[in-house]
């Protein structure tokens, strides 16, 4: 152990650690005792989640879609949901338990969270509606994209190529413009003076093109 010598701070009490340390790991460490199925979960979801995420977890307006998009990850516009993208059910429990509903986080009981987790899995056609998710079996449940992630490999796949000596002269024969931002016309106009605003700015509320979320 590293040796501290300042003598600052005080010992954290078990109740304090329990109140704040709620994270859940893929192996299930951190799960509270509890259980729920999609039948119970549907009621909670309808009451507390569906206004944004839709009755079937399909998403309302621009709010996140939690279900669907299976086998779209290699397409131009992948739909990344719990069912199509997420690797671990533990993350679903952990995130809902700590940060949902949006605007009223940390108001759900463990059994409600298990129920919502079950309902989202059910909405992704991954379980039957009476399948009970609990602290006993949650970690063992494998999501479709569990094997879909690999650790950052830029050192081997990019670094060598991108650290070659840079060309300074006669680097290409011809240069053509292949795409213009003003064609899309989705940049907000200058809110203060209009002068010097990006050409063709359309202002707010225009039709959104296929765009990455700024996450």
């Amino acid at each position: 152990a590293l040796a501290g010598g300042l003598g600052l701070g005080r010992a954290a009490l078990p109740e304090e650690i329990a109140a704040w340390d709620k994270d859940v790991r893929p192996d299930g460490v951190g799960l509270p005792v509890g259980s729920g199925d999609a039948i119970v979960g549907e009621e909670v979801f309808a009451d507390k989640c569906a206004a944004c995420h839709g009755d079937f977890a399909e998403g309302v307006d621009n709010w996140p879609k939690l279900a669907g998009g299976m086998n779209t990850l290699n397409r131009d516009d992948p739909l990344k949901t719990v069912g199509s993208y997420w690797p671990h059910v533990s993350t679903l429990f952990d995130y809902i338990n700590r940060s949902m509903p949006f605007g009223a986080a940390q108001t759900l009981e463990p059994d409600e969270v298990y129920g919502i987790v079950a309902y989202i899995l059910y909405s992704n056609d991954l379980i039957e509606d009476d399948y009970v998710i609990s602290n006993e079996n949650l970690a063992a449940f494998e999501l479709p994209n569990a094997a879909g992630f690999f650790v950052d490999d830029r050192e081997t796949t990019e670094y060598a190529q991108f650290s070659a000596p840079a060309c300074m002269e006669n680097c290409k024969d011809e240069v053509k413009i292949t795409m213009h931002a003003t064609v899309l016309d989705v940049t907000p106009g200058d809110p203060t003076d209009g002068e010097g605003a990006p050409a063709g700015a359309s202002g707010e509320g225009g039709a959104a093109p296929a765009a990455a979320e700024p996450e």
Partner: protein, 426 residues
Amino acid sequence: MSNEPLNDKAMIGTTRRGFLAATAATGTALVANAASGATPDPLITEVQEWGSGLGDGVDANPYGLPIRFESDVVRRNVSWLTADVISSINFTPIHALDGTITPQGCAFERHHSGAIELSKDDYRLMINGLVDTPLVFTYADLERMPRVTRTFFLECAANTGMEWAGAQLNGSQFTHGMIHNMEYTGVTLRTLLEEAGVQPTATWLFVEGADASSNGRSIPMEKALDDCMIAFKANGEALRMEHGYPVRLVVPGWEGNLWVKWLRRMEATDAPVESREETSKYTDTMADGTSRKWTWVMDAKSVVTSPSPQMPITHGNGPLVITGLAWSGRGAITGVDVSMDGGKTWKPARLAAPGTEMALTRFYFDHNWQGEEMLLQSRATDSTGYVQPTKAQLREVRGENSVYHNNCIQTWWVKPNGEAENVEVS
């Protein structure tokens, strides 16, 4: 006032004949020159109000804001990017700034459940998990620890992310403005973790904020003990509320999402938590549908901030300052090259100061512009030898769906009338 007469002294590196040819090409400049040459400038010959009356007293602004003429130098958001403004992003007006330090008041924000108000009195920091003694610190405790001051950039992983599939947003503020660069004062994580006594089995550190989103992330203990710090001061003063007041995490060179704001807990663990922010988000999908995870480092990158779509050339032909920013999460910027022909030829720019590790570097390229069309690019090189790639090079490896970590070379098409546009080139 801004239309100062051009004269030979202002023309660097050009001949009288070249100057005449250039001014002849822009009729308005010629007229303005003639007029200003023939008529005394009333701003000089007439006593102005500010030269006669009185200005504000010293008690007018206990904490001042920029003068009203700079009201365009503000954060902006793009409403269609997110479902609402709470879990959302805004953009630093990098097009209008110079130097390297970002004024806090216009430094970009990214929240997942809004900017919370947390007082120093209410603040608590917990260290738990695989430590000898789980600890709770008050804010006052943190101020008594040995302090460090360092300057780093914070770049959102998604900066330039909307540009993966093409040229989309028209302005460096929007394409590259999810970034700020501040001088932070605080305490190293090593100091904090030593107080609790991290056990040898602790290979990861899970960090989370006090806000509803928590923004929990897993950091390898090696990085945590290397150069991470908590900060309670930025650019000399307390953090702004929207930047994590009173305490945030500083993770040099790594994606902004890891810089947890309103930091409330650090847990030493023997495995990553694989939280929402490192599974659903901040994972980078390749063309084949598999995804990189734990893409922490922000690679070398640069952008010309002026001229740019929000900063058209309005002064006519002659001396033009081409300037921009470069940075790398791998180390220090050692050079920036500028191209005016879309990458056919490159020339080294001048660094305002030698690059420092994982911080913004300002570059200048002094050009004598004669109204020619330019395809303006900048290309950064860092101390590891990494050279900023083109978007085509990145797409070849990653496809177009990786959302994050777009550090490609940016092209501005500067037209003969001085306007600039975000374009892609072959």
